[in-house]
Amino acid sequence: MPRTHMAESIAPAVQSAAAPILSVRELKTYFHLPEGIVRAVDGVSFDVHPGRTIGIVGESGCGKSITARSILGIVDRPGRIESGEIWLGGADGQSGPVDVVSLAPNGAQMRAIRGKEIALIFQEPMSSFSHYYTVGNQIMEAIREHSDASKQEAHARAIELLRTVGIPQPERRVEEYPFQLSGGLRQRVMIAMALACDPRVLIADEPTTALDVTTQAQILDLLGGLQEQRGLALILITHDMGVIAEMADDVVVMYLGRAVEKGSVNDIFHAPKHPYTRALLRSIPSITGAPRTKLATLGGSIPHPFNRPAGCPFHPRCPDVMAGVCDSAVPPVLAEGHGREVSCFLYGGKP
């Protein structure tokens, strides 16, 4: 089933007027290590809307996964959310939004949200399953944690979920152990488990990175289809610009803990503003490029988190760096309308 970009036909203004289901505001998550503080996420804001996909893209160490873990309140020690707000809209608009950050990470309220309202699928399905329980048992556990379903009901629902995610012979597979499944099937089971409690927000952290391209295509197709059927808000975290281009409606580009640019997928790919976004797009090898051609490169490499550059974190690698400006202060976030934001002195702001 080809994925249709329903959202594109709706005017962006209408979309942004609709209340977001999740609003991340000025999120800062730091790790306090003996060697110093690592600012894994350093002031990131974005909105997530029902039925839309927001892609968070960046290279290793940019803070994209920690952003996801912060939303779920599962940041490992010594990391913690320093400041910021993460507002989750009330179910069915009956209750008001809750600030997830204000909840105790292991409290009853947070546990009711995790898995039920917001679910997560990981990159490597093998390490996120238990080896000692059948996949059915693991899905049933997720169902029974959040509902009063009996064992039989949960079992029937587990089979139904496996069928939903396109697993052949679900009645048989439900009794199998994760190690008996291929990578693609395991990722489908992971998705089935995430859907067990009908979440409103699904966070997919590199869901296809460990998979082969043809399997990746199957899984992306499945995610797109499920989103359309269920009106899921999808947060897709990846380093792969190709996956972003195919799946996302809106994009947040991150570099060293900061959102350097935000915009619709078309804006980001066809009119990128931030020098990092531009360099990233130029440097990716494209399957439509000419054979044996040099790629544009971005000099240097991502700095170690302890050696975070002063000012704009990208300035030592930036082709458009302005001496005395970019190295002296962090550029402000400039709103450019229609949800477009860029954080760069080239477009305004003064140190």
Binding site: T214, T215, L220, A245, E246, S286, K294
Partner: protein, 332 residues
């Protein structure tokens, strides 16, 4: 001139079961693979995990002994069949074939300074004089664009991209006739990936290197290779010049593979060939063409008879009964 000719290479692994570890079957990881690599060119070997591409490269380097077949390697104008040589006889030829590994973090000894890492192959192959080695290491560091001042540092002080440069310098140390690079950039960040790919292209132009580039990423492969061989479940299904293969694939698997790659352009999103089911188990491959259960063009014949790899044009071989009649979709 061909640096390497692989003829009908097979590598079967026994499946053992039970207390007596009796052999109950064979995993035909590589099942009759033939190709050649010309001097100065890059041949990419692509396919999904489990297709046998890494086993092929390990057989060529004789890290694995092939079950049957020939590996004809040309050194100093003479051709030798590596498949038949003993470990001792192989020693003479090992220096002419070098490997660049996927993971720059585990392929460098953390206790050795980089001058020693790069200089080790020189020492092992008889360059005893310290001064001579130092000179050559400095040259190699220049080639891979690392400052000479880094020579005394240890691997942990380097980023992934820099470590891959060290790995390349080590591979170049003995002026090898063939470099086998197995997924050399797949562990790197995209911005660093481009630097390493450019370096590999540069070095090839300057030194006339010959690469066997084993990779799963078709976008990366397109940027570096002259020709591409596509593998599926232990067999080569298509070999062609890079541009021809991408623009007009002749094998349905190549078409599906190209179509599955996410294109970094939102305007191109949407139309994908989604392959049904999963890759066949090489321990129990389907009869006939291994790809037929997933092929949307499969006919009765494909289920019974395995298609041979046949030449269908200049530089072009395809293993498909319907290669001549099908018109398949490629990418720009």
């Amino acid at each position: 001139m061909n640096v390497l000719e692989v003829v009908n290479l097979r590598k079967h692994f026994p499946i053992r079961r039970g207390f007596l570890r009796r052999t109950v079957g064979q995993v035909k990881a590589v099942d009759g693979v033939s190709f050649h690599i010309r001097k100065g060119e890059t041949l990419a070997l692509v396919g999904e995990s489990g297709c046998g591409k890494t086993t092929v490269s390990r057989c060529i380097l004789r890290a694995l002994s092939p079950t049957s077949g020939e590996i004809r390697f040309t050194v100093d104008g003479k051709q030798v069949d590596l498949a038949g040589l003993s470990k001792r006889e192989l020693k003479r030829y090992r220096r002419h074939m070098q490997m660049v590994f996927q993971d720059p973090f585990s392929s460098l000894n953390p206790r050795m300074g980089i001058a020693d890492i790069i200089g080790e192959p020189l020492l092992v192959n008889g360059m005893r004089r310290v001064e001579e080695r130092r000179k050559r290491v400095a040259e190699l560091l220049d080639m891979v664009q690392l400052p000479r001042a880094f020579r005394n540092r240890f691997p942990h002080a380097f980023s992934g991209g820099q470590r891959q440069r060290i790995g390349i310098a080590r591979a170049l140390a003995l002026n090898p006739s063939l470099i086998v690079a197995d997924e050399p950039v797949s562990a790197l960040d995209v911005s660093v990936q481009a630097q390493i790919l450019n370096l590999m292209l540069d070095l090839q132009d300057r030194l006339g290197l010959t690469y066997l580039f084993v990779a799963h990423d078709l976008s990366v492969v397109k940027h570096v290779s002259d020709r591409v061989a596509v593998m599926y479940v232990g067999r080569i299904v298509e070999v062609a010049d890079t541009r021809a293969l991408y623009e007009s694939p002749k094998h349905p698997y190549t078409e599906a593979l190209l179509s599955a790659v996410p294109k970094p352009d939102p305007r191109l999103a949407g139309e994908r060939v989604i392959l049904e089911r999963e890759v066949a188990d090489p321990g129990r491959p389907p009869p006939g063409c291994h790809f037929h259960p997933r092929c949307r063009y499969a006919q009765e014949r494909c289920r019974i008879e395995a298609p041979p790899l046949e030449q269908v044009g200049e530089n072009r071989w395809v293993s498909c009964h319907r290669a001549r009649e099908l018109s398949l979709r490629g990418v720009g």
